[in-house]
Structures are given as structure tokens and as C-alpha cells.
């Protein structure tokens, strides 16, 4: 055991990478699924052990190839990225059993191995972005996760999947380009790619090169915001999520945008925030304005959306607004709320998209008008959908309430009462779009389309139920969300100038 423990940061990335390559090499759907399942179930133990270690003894540093940082690539795990690693790996582990039937139903036999190969590559990329302490290494992993997610989307059963994957490819490439321009500027200024080292060196460069640093900050912000689908840069997301295979939508919605948000937090609070006085720049105001716009406009679009997957995709844009709102508030309760919402939203959106995947598996449609009365045919699935839907609204007793509560306290701390009102008002719009679905599925008479539908088999039902119960559980026990996030936020805000 002692031989393995020091290598956990590398294993976190290497195991899914080897899994992906083996799945691509063996080219058999069943074998690839077994590999994906095994890898997904190992990951939470590695990330959990690392989070535990960071909580007890502080950050872990791992030098790839034995080269000392800042020259070599350093993998650096502190409470913040330990928290995100645990989230990503647990989501992967919980939803993996669902994939077997859903993927077999939606993707032709010959392509299933590629699907699992791409999922494992995407997992590699997402865990890599999170675990690395090197900004260029983060770019490489960003590209690995993005390229594989384009393929995941393009494998969708609908022909429109190809077009939406292409749209995402263009937007994602622009985002990656902006990010790497920002990184290039930072490298010019500091001669370093190591996050800790850049933060230490930017300080002395600030008086002379402040405009270059602001440009770098702007490029990184726009690049990463494209990846995380911050409001006006979200155009790729609804179609991508709507036409991807059901299971890919679940995975991407719960992890990909969340990891990009982590990267933004890392840049703001561990690199720029440490080196320069960010309060002199209007970052906070811009982020808050865009977040509020996302919360309202995306929620309003969701209200009028007929396709359930697109509706939930727009809802994701709105919910990402709450998370970035926490980044904009940048105080202890606000940022804690944002971080907690990363977890809470990931789990409830995974539950919702899984439920939609189960509906598609049984009823072959995701159009709301054709799903009248499906609640009576698939009671357990729709019960889980209802619980997670209440989580989206932020009803008390669900995890969504906890995150919004902390965000509201963060706004009150700044005496921004209007913002508190806006958080409540946008939740009411969520009530409308979730309520509209609940009315149709529970209260109307079943249509002929759904007459033969029934709850899916246990391998699909259990992940949905588990995530829905997590939505309730995390609404009461907040030790592992608010507790750990608060710990991470203290470290982040403590480092600010």
C-alpha cells in the first residue's frame, strides 16, 4: 500500500488513459464496457484517498518523471481539486452501470467500443485538468477531454448530432485557442508554466506589465468561459447535449462544465488573485452580471422548450450561472455556495438526464407532448426526476436549497439585497419549467406512445435512484459538501492579496 500511495496523483490519470487505449485496441463492445466499468469504479478510491490525505496533511505534490518543479510538470492536489476529483470520479462510477443498456440501445454494435474508449479518454482529460499544477499540461488535458467529447456527441443516434458536434468543435477550439494565448502571455511574462511559480513571479511583473497581465486574464477568462458555457458563450451547449447519446449527455453535463469552472476558479484565486489586486479590475461585476443574465434568460428559454433534453440543457446554462455567481461574489459564503453548487448541480442534473435517458430507452421520445402521463407508467424513474427537479428549483430539503442559501448569504454579506431577490426570482422560473413537466407527466392521461413503457431494469434504475437520494441526503447532511468546500474556500481566499 505504501508503494502505491505516493503515486496516486499519476494513477488518477494513467489508469483511465490505459483503459481508454486498451478499449480502443481490443475493439469489442463488451470488453470495452467491462474496462470502463472497472476504471470508473477504481477512480473514486484514488480521488477519495487523495482528498482524505490533503484534508489531514495538506497539499500533495507529485513530480512527473522525477523532474523538479517549476521545470518539470507538477501534479498538485489541494482541498479544492481533491473535492472536484472526488465529484468527477463518483459521478463516473455511479452512472457507469446505466451505460450498458443505454449505449447498446442507441449506438450500433461496431461503434460501442469507440464510445467507451472516448468516454475513458474524456475522463482522463477531465481528471488531468483537475489534478495538474501546470497551466500548459492543463491545456493538453483540456484538448484531450474536448476532442473526445466532440466524438461522444457525434456518436448520437440523430443525424443532427454531427452538426452539433461540429458546432461544439468550432466553439471549443476557439476557447482552447484563447486559453493558450493567455497561457502564452503568462509564459512570456514569467518564464514559467507552473501555477504556483507563475503566481509568485507575476507579482513583480505587475507594475511594469500590468496591461499584458490584464490581457492574459481576459484571454483565459474568455477561453475557459467558452468551455464552461458562461451565458453569452453557451451557444454550443443546448444542441450538443440534446443530440448526444443519452449517457454521454449525463456524463458531460455532470462533469465537463464543472471541471472548466474549477479551472476558472484556479486561475482567479490561485494565480491572478495571489499575484495582483483583482479588486481594481471589474471582473467581479462582469461575472455577476453575466451570471444573473444566465439565470434569467436561459431559464426563460427552458420554459418554452419542448424537447426535454434541450430544456435541461438550457437549465444547465442557468445553473452554471449560480456557480459563477459564487465566483463573482468571492466571499466566504458566496464562493462556498458556488463550490457546493458544483457538486449539487452535477448530481441532480445527472439524475435528471439519466431519467430522460431511461424514458428514451422505454418510450423512444423525449418530446414533452408525447410523454403525457408517463409518470404512471414509470413511477420510480419519474419520482427520481421529480426529486431532482425540486433540487433544481432549490426547494428546502433538497441539496439545491443549500447552495442557494449560501449564495444568498454571500450576497447579503455584501449588502446586495437586489441580488438576493434575483436569486429567489430566478428560482421561481425554474419552478415554472420543472412544474410544467411534472404536470404533463403525472396529471395527464397516458398517451398511446407511452402505454407500453415501464420502469427500466435495475442497472438503469438504481443509478437514477441513487443520485436522486443524494439530492435529498445532501440537503440535510452538508458535512461533505459545505464542510470541505468551506475548507477549500478558506485556503483560496486566505491566499488573496
Amino acid at each position: 500500500m505504501n508503494a502505491v500511495l505516493p503515486h496516486l496523483p499519476a494513477l488518477q490519470v494513467v489508469i483511465p488513459l490505459l483503459g481508454a487505449l486498451l478499449a480502443g485496441f481490443l475493439r469489442r463492445g463488451g470488453v470495452a464496457f467491462a474496462l470502463a466499468l472497472a476504471v470508473s469504479w477504481i477512480m473514486p478510491f484514488i480521488s477519495g484517498a487523495m482528498l482524505w490525505q490533503t484534508l489531514l496533511t495538506g497539499p500533495i505534490s507529485y513530480h512527473l518523471g522525477g523532474w523538479e518543479p517549476p521545470w518539470g510538470i507538477e501534479y498538485r492536489v489541494d482541498v479544492l481539486n481533491g473535492f472536484v476529483l472526488v465529484l468527477v470520479s463518483i459521478v463516473g462510477a455511479v452512472i457507469m452501470p446505466f451505460a450498458r443498456r443505454s449505449v447498446a440501445f442507441e449506438i450500433e454494435e461496431g461503434r460501442q467500443a469507440w464510445f467507451y474508449c472516448m468516454y475513458l479518454l474524456c475522463l482522463t482529460g477531465l481528471l488531468g485538468i483537475t489534478v495538474t499544477g501546470d497551466v500548459f499540461n492543463a491545456f493538453v488535458f483540456l484538448e484531450i477531454s474536448s476532442l473526445s467529447s466532440y466524438v461522444l456527441i457525434a456518436l448520437g443516434p440523430d443525424r443532427r448530432a454531427l452538426l452539433s458536434a461540429f458546432q461544439y468543435l468550432i466553439m471549443g477550439t476557439i476557447g482552447a485557442t484563447f486559453y493558450v494565448i493567455g497561457v502564452g502571455l503568462l509564459y512570456l511574462l514569467t518564464g514559467s508554466l507552473n501555477m504556483v511559480d507563475i503566481a509568485a513571479r507575476l507579482d513583480s511583473a505587475w507594475p511594469e506589465y500590468s496591461r499584458a497581465i490584464v490581457a492574459a486574464l481576459a484571454f483565459v477568462t474568455v477561453g475557459v468561459s467558452l468551455k464552461l458555457a458562461l451565458f453569452p458563450l453557451h451557444a454550443w451547449l443546448p444542441n450538443g447535449y440534446a443530440y448526444a447519446p443519452s449517457w454521454a449527455t449525463v456524463f458531460l453535463s455532470a462533469t465537463a462544465t464543472k471541471v472548466a469552472i474549477y479551472l476558472l476558479i484556479r486561475f482567479y484565486f490561485s494565480i491572478f488573485g495571489v499575484a495582483i489586486d483583482v479588486d481594481t479590475l471589474p471582473i467581479s461585476e462582469i461575472i455577476i452580471a453575466l451570471s444573473v443574465a444566465a439565470m434569467f434568460i436561459a431559464s426563460l428559454i427552458a420554459v418554452f422548450e419542448e424537447n426535454l433534453k434541450r430544456m435541461l440543457a438550457y437549465s444547465s446554462v442557468a445553473q452554471i450561472g449560480y456557480i459563477t455567481l459564487g465566483i463573482g461574489l468571492a466571499n466566504q459564503p458566496g464562493l462556498t455556495g458556488g463550490l457546493v453548487h458544483i457538486v449539487n448541480h452535477a448530481l441532480m442534473k445527472a439524475a435528471l438526464f439519466l431519467a430522460i435517458g431511461a424514458i428514451f430507452y422505454r418510450a423512444r421520445t423525449v418530446r414533452l407532448t408525447e410523454l403525457a402521463g408517463i409518470g404512471r407508467k414509470m413511477p420510480l424513474t419519474m419520482a427520481a426526476f421529480t426529486i431532482a427537479g425540486f433540487g433544481l428549483i432549490g426547494a428546502p430539503g433538497t441539496s439545491g436549497f443549500i447552495s442557494k442559501w449560501y449564495l444568498a448569504i454571500g450576497a447579503i454579506d455584501k449588502d446586495w439585497w437586489v441580488l438576493v431577490f434575483l436569486i429567489m426570482a430566478s428560482s421561481l422560473i425554474a419552478l415554472v419549467y420543472v412544474g410544467r413537466v411534472l404536470e404533463v407527466v403525472w396529471l395527464r392521461k397516458p398517451t398511446p406512445e407511452v402505454a407500453r413503457a415501464s420502469d427500466p431494469p435495475p442497472s438503469m434504475l438504481l443509478p437514477v435512484l441513487a443520485l436522486a437520494s443524494a439530492t435529498i441526503y445532501l440537503g440535510f447532511d452538508t458535512e461533505w459538501t459545505v464542510g470541505v468546500a468551506g475548507n477549500a474556500v478558506e485556503a483560496l481566499l486566505g491566499g488573496l492579496r
Binding site: 508503494a3 503515486h7 499519476a10 494513477l11 494513467v14 488513459l17 490505459l18 481508454a20 487505449l21 486498451l22 478499449a23 480502443g24 485496441f25 475493439r27 507529485y62 513530480h63 512527473l64 518523471g65 522525477g66 474508449c117
Partner: protein, 138 residues
Amino acid sequence: MSLDLILRVGTKLILPFILLFALYVQFHGDFGPGGGFQAGVITAGMVILLAITFGLKAAQRVAPRSLVERMIPLGALIFAGTGVVGLVMGKNYLDYSVFSRDPAHGHELGIFLVEAGVLITVAGTMTALFYAFVERGR
């Protein structure tokens, strides 16, 4: 058929030398311009020339689709596996000094293996891309 005699004979003559040049670029990468990527492209170029002159079937007898598509992950597996050797020997991931008693020599050997992986992946990817375009609409 008869008009492209020079092309056919010329291609047959030149093919082994293309492969030889690819290997030269591969192994000379330590001391001059070259390396796995360039060598992989040249190797794929050989298959593409074969396909253009003698037709897709002739090329796919030499490099079948299933082989080419397996070469893509195989090369990356060699790269990643080279890193894992460091882990197994008790050093950090990607630490090539474990390959030999002399660390510098170990690094050389490690990079040699990595470059071999790059050659396989790049040659496979380029050929698979070519096949994908050629087979479109068939």
C-alpha cells in the same frame, strides 16, 4: 493500363526506400531533424502512394483497416506503458532513468521507446484518415 508503366515500376522501386528513409528519420531523430512523428508521416506516405498507384485493395492487403485502426491506440499504449515501467520500478511516472544503471542512458532508451510508439500511432492515424476519405461514398 499500359500508359502508367513508368509510374507502376517507379513506385515499386521507390517503396522500400521510402520505408528505409522513414526508419532513418526515426532513428536519426536523436542527432538531427526527425523523430517519430515525421517518420510516421513518411511511413503513411508509403501506403498512400501504394494506394494511389495500385488501388485501395492493394494497399489494404499490405495495411488492412483493422491493423491500421489498432495501431492508433497501440502506439499510445507503448508511450504510456513506457511511463508505467518507471512506476513499477518504484520511481515516478515517466521517469526513464530506471531503464539503465546510468540515468542518462536510461533516458535515451525511454525516449527511444516513446518515439517508437509515436511512429506507430502517427502512421496508423494518417493511414486511417486516408482510408476514411477514400472509402467515403463507396
